[in-house]
Symmetry: C2
Subunit: 332 residues, 2 copies
């Protein structure tokens, strides 16, 4: 039996509406018998769902933070939104972690302001596991901090290594710096200063990683500022999505190709699932107290399910406590 | 008949050896009857090739700049290298443009130092045409300037728009800023300041472009600092390459899939060619006097051929002169 864990799920998060989030929640409850869920959202949406499920209760909220709103402003103003209330339930100890596929910015702001930072953490950072055949790689930061200092990236590296050990099962994580060349003298002034800081302060640091090598699996964790990381992640996802849509067009171009596509269907579906972000279900916000995982706005049922299960795993692995230990060690 | 043009080709550039470069040069000479070529490199490599080809002469050089050398240092030291001599031939008027698949950094340094900047251009920038079904997009800068100021990106936008008009055949180019959100308030401090400068100084500016939308063809030119651009370009190319290799594995996984792959072969080859960087043959260095195009180190024969032909087109379109006009207009 696994440790019982309670995760708050933001029923209003995501572009596909609460039905998809609730179907994903249902699937997560089925998959993990020791998972408890609090669904946050309007009473008419969450009440009937909770009534129909064991290990589930509803928390009625009256406000919703929309995708386009200014994150910090919305978090301050909408105290009864599903995102703010969800983070407060974790803060107050009613739940252990929070999952939302809503506004990433609002989740970051709410988690940082309401749940609070782990003592010693300068900037919480958003990680994203990049799927790869070779070896998955955690990219940190993928968008929480557009402007960074080298010392932030040192902590991203420490937090990422802790996450890789606790969640990804990597005993000796290799940490890379996202840079524009393999040699240590390469890169912007910021990248060069960060290289030095990582070499000095992070025993797991193993050198520069170029954009083209992210999928090679040479590193378990790759750190960068949140601007570069966000551009990089979206480019990677956009390229994969575009190529699959090109493939689909190619498959439909003739009778011959359609027949070929039928024969390949199973293999292609397996490949698509392997590289799909839905398989990983969301991005962990590293450095806040308690678990917070943010799903893609476009999360489908599977992504929501996996995001909730990943939140439970994050809680059970005590990642926040491990990070607290690492960062405190750094402050000695 | 097209305007006669002379392009210097660095026979020593590229990871695949001079044979591949010379085969590509041969193909370019075949394809363009008004193209003249000077092949630069050791006499025993370039002499026999030039003797065997019309419209071709050899320029013997004794030094080679290796891929790993410090670019500016190598350019200063190795005065008789194929890259430095090639750029000098353009500077002296013996040739109109230069093509190399050698060290990008050394080509940038030599072109900037030897050929010289267009008057008024603060920083020459490396562009790369991103292939897309919808509409190709020129990304600038993909690595010449790791550290940038907003005013550099204003010039990248002006130079990119000039290139899009002259070479890509786009009458009214739409210029985007690579950023981490569509809204104008998004991004790092640098991105926000650049957004303001572009809106003020570049009539073609049409807003932010996220990494995931680069392949959507919404913009003809997308500008960014050379650090972000290099990470983005390499991520894009690396993702495409990895997915194609996964596909190949999937196709070989069973007898059924092998049969499917045979039926799809033609369509897949067409798709691969469409998205391959080889089709575009290289990256133009914008803002230097005369044409300079840098090919991938891994350039094959086709990429070399297309890079040389693109160099000729760049010369015939008088891109440098157009850029000089635009930048001078800016300085008024």
């Amino acid at each position: 039996m696994a440790e019982p864990v309670t995760i708050v799920v933001d029923a209003m998060g995501g572009d596909n509406g609460p039905e998809v989030v609730l179907r994903g929640t249902h699937a997560a409850l089925e998959a993990d018998p020791d998972l408890h869920v609090i669904v946050c959202g309007p009473a008419d949406v969450t009440g009937p769902f909770a009534a129909a499920h064991e290990r589930c209760r509803a928390q009625a909220t009256t406000e919703v933070i929309e995708m386009g709103e200014h994150p910090a402003g919305a978090v301050r103003k909408k105290k009864d939104s599903s995102i703010v209330v969800g983070c407060r339930l974790v803060k107050e100890g009613a739940a252990d972690g929070f999952f939302s596929a809503g506004s990433t910015g609002a989740c970051l702001a709410a988690a940082t302001l309401v749940m609070g930072r782990v003592r010693g953490v300068k900037r919480p950072a958003l990680g994203q596991v990049i799927p790869s055949y070779a070896n998955p790689t955690l990219l940190v930061d993928v968008g929480a901090n557009a402007d960074c200092k080298p010392e932030y990236l040192v902590q991203f590296a420490q937090m990422g290594a802790a996450y890789a050990r606790a969640i990804m099962g990597v005993e000796s994580p290799r940490v890379g710096l996202l840079n524009i060349g393999a040699e240590e003298t390469k890169g912007s002034e910021f990248a060069q200063a960060t290289f030095e800081a990582l070499r000095r302060d992070v025993p797991e640091f193993a050198g520069n990683c170029e954009g083209g090598n992210l999928l090679a699996g040479d590193f378990d964790v790759v750190v960068c500022d949140g601007f570069t990381g966000n551009v990089c992640l979206k480019t990677l996802e956009g390229t994969a999505k575009t190529l699959f849509s090109y493939l689909k067009d190619a498959f439909l171009s003739s009778t011959k190709s359609k027949l070929g596509a039928v024969l390949l269907k199973g293999d292609l579906s397996a490949l698509k699932a392997k590289v799909s972000p839905d398989t990983y279900g969301g991005a962990p916000l590293l450095g806040v107290k308690g678990a917070c995982i943010v799903g893609h706005g476009s999360s489908n049922e599977l992504a929501v399910k996996n995001g909730i299960l990943a939140s439970a795993t994050t809680v059970r692995s005590h990642v926040s406590e491990v990070i607290a230990g690492v960062v405190a060690g750094d402050a000695r």
